[in-house]
Symmetry: C2
Subunit: 331 residues, 2 copies
């Protein structure tokens, strides 16, 4: 049995490269009484992990150089000295970026029997889906009459946010970085999609597809997207600040939008959130999302890289828009 881990080799300055990661062979851990050995089947790479590669205080501790990275993963118990976690049990954990690990069970959440593919618990049924849902309902206070703008709209969070808003009765506009992604969203029923790479002035493009203005902006991008949204927000609009991927790789802090005065003039509310603060609503989310999926009301995409050694490439691909829907690594 080959046991491997990906370690943070060095902290990136600006955009990370594969040099910042190292693939390490490990000894097979000895299983004491009460412990189990889990083999990871799927792992998640997410934009927020970029923040953890930097040694700054944030809502989550930074990764340590020379140590294994962390992240969402789905695994299977392959050896067990703990009756609560029998061999064959599928579990959700934060022990990604490694092939196997030993656990006393405290960090394992059993996945209930489900007709859904296991990896959906890293995407539509997991953190990204929960992020979209809680951001819309608990932060933006989504109303059926809202016109909603979602950036990075074909991503793991954005594509779910777009579809939930449509189910709720909203008019939905997405921005994406390719015509293929735009076509995909239109097939999902999204009302208008902007390819920001070819649209020219983003504020004007948004005004053209949404002359009625924007009531809710679900921000995954920041920067020019936030500026364009601000220029088109209606009075009392809400901005759900979920991510600012355009800034994650800045080696120096970059200036913000030049039109924050709109926050006052249009009496906007901009609220940042981290999904982990809303985890007490996860059972409600799982039930609602499971129902939407079973009714065929919501669809999802995956982009899969094969093998733990490809995890850095998968992660780096997030910042180049190489994913459609959830970016995953199959182990």
């Amino acid at each position: 049995m080959k046991i491997q881990e990906i370690h943070l080799a060095s902290r990136p300055e600006g955009t990370p490269t594969t040099e910042n990661f190292s693939l390490i062979d490990r000894e097979r851990p000895k299983l004491e009484d009460g412990k189990v050995l889990v083999k990871n089947l799927w792992m998640s790479v997410d934009p927020y992990m970029r923040g953890r590669m930097t040694n700054t205080k944030s809502y989550i501790a930074p990764f340590e150089v020379g140590k294994v990275m962390e992240g969402g993963a789905i695994g299977e118990v392959i050896e067990s000295r703990n009756a609560q976690f029998p061999v064959g049990m599928k579990v959700s954990t934060m022990q990604g970026w490694r092939s196997h690990f030993a656990s006393d069970g405290n960090d394992l959440t059993p996945i209930p029997p489900t007709p859904l593919p296991l990896q959906s618990f890293l995407g539509i049924m997991g953190m990204p889906g929960m992020t979209a849902w809680s951001g819309l309902f608990y932060i933006a206070d989504l109303q059926p009459t809202d016109t909603v703008f979602v950036s990075a709209a074909s991503g793991a969070v954005g594509s779910v946010a777009c579809q939930i808003a449509k189910i709720h009765g909203c008019t939905v506009i997405g921005s994406v970085g390719s015509d293929d992604k735009a076509d995909l969203l239109k097939k999902m029923g999204i009302d208008a999609v902007i390819n920001y790479k070819t649209a020219g002035n983003l504020s004007k493009a948004l005004a053209t597809v949404s002359p009625q203005g924007i009531d809710v902006y679900f921000d995954n991008v920041g920067g020019d997207h936030l500026e364009a949204a601000l220029n088109n927000m209606n009075d009392f609009g809400r901005i759900t600040a979920c991510g600012m991927i355009s800034n994650y790789n800045d080696s120096e802090p970059q200036p913000g939008p030049n039109n924050l005065l709109k926050i006052i003039a249009q009496k906007l509310t901009m609220q940042g959130f981290i999904v982990t603060d809303h985890w007490d609503h996860y059972p409600e989310f799982i039930q609602q999302m499971g129902q939407w999926i079973s009714e065929g009301k919501i669809k999802w995409e995956e982009t899969v890289y094969d093998g733990l050694d490809k995890a850095p490439d998968a992660f780096l691909g997030l910042f180049e828009g190489k994913n459609t829907g959830k970016m995953l690594v199959k182990l």
Copy 2:
């Protein structure tokens, strides 16, 4: 009887000058039945008026070039052909920037009998006081345990916000542009005051006086003050976006703070507001503020320019920090 008005002579590019205003002599209006003649005693100049000098869509219509300007004023009925508004009645109006005006009464709000000086209804008991109060309680949801940072803290709104927060039990930090203003605030009981002109790095200055972090930032300034506040906000902090005077005279839009990612990482809420949306709470405010004043719990300052012809100077002085407390013109 000399009747005069101040007109908008031209729209400013960048910082306004006295050239943008003209003093015009007018004929005495004829009083039809049902009308009254009001002589203005006091008028207000406020930072928000800068926005109305520019011809852009906003929450309030722009001033028109070649026409009289508008703003808060306190006047006295000196002739009456309307029994509801007898001679001698004191009234609050939006008919500032002029010595006299005729009215059918629809734009007049009688000032009730009060031991307070009339001009306080343009300051502590009027729009600026109401702005501070509603911003703290209806936008920031002020809690006694909060550490509150107020910028432009010796201004008409800021000085009231500081004192209300102190009355509510908060720890309060203000920023001002002179040592005299800092001394004044300290005498009012404000816990710490930063002179931003001499403090050097504002983020560090704020961290020094408030190592416990900031829970509520009452923003009157924007720009570097907003950036410094963001660097010091505690988790779930609230930013009340009341004004951004540092940007009002920009001839070109200026970049915003470089650290908006803090809104996500610290899960902040930034909410813009315009006091007029909260006017239904004005009776409650008046009662509360009247009580605080009668108990000696709140104090206020005025800076008075004498004569309608000095109104442009008074207005321009707002952007140079020439006022302590409410900037007023005595007619």
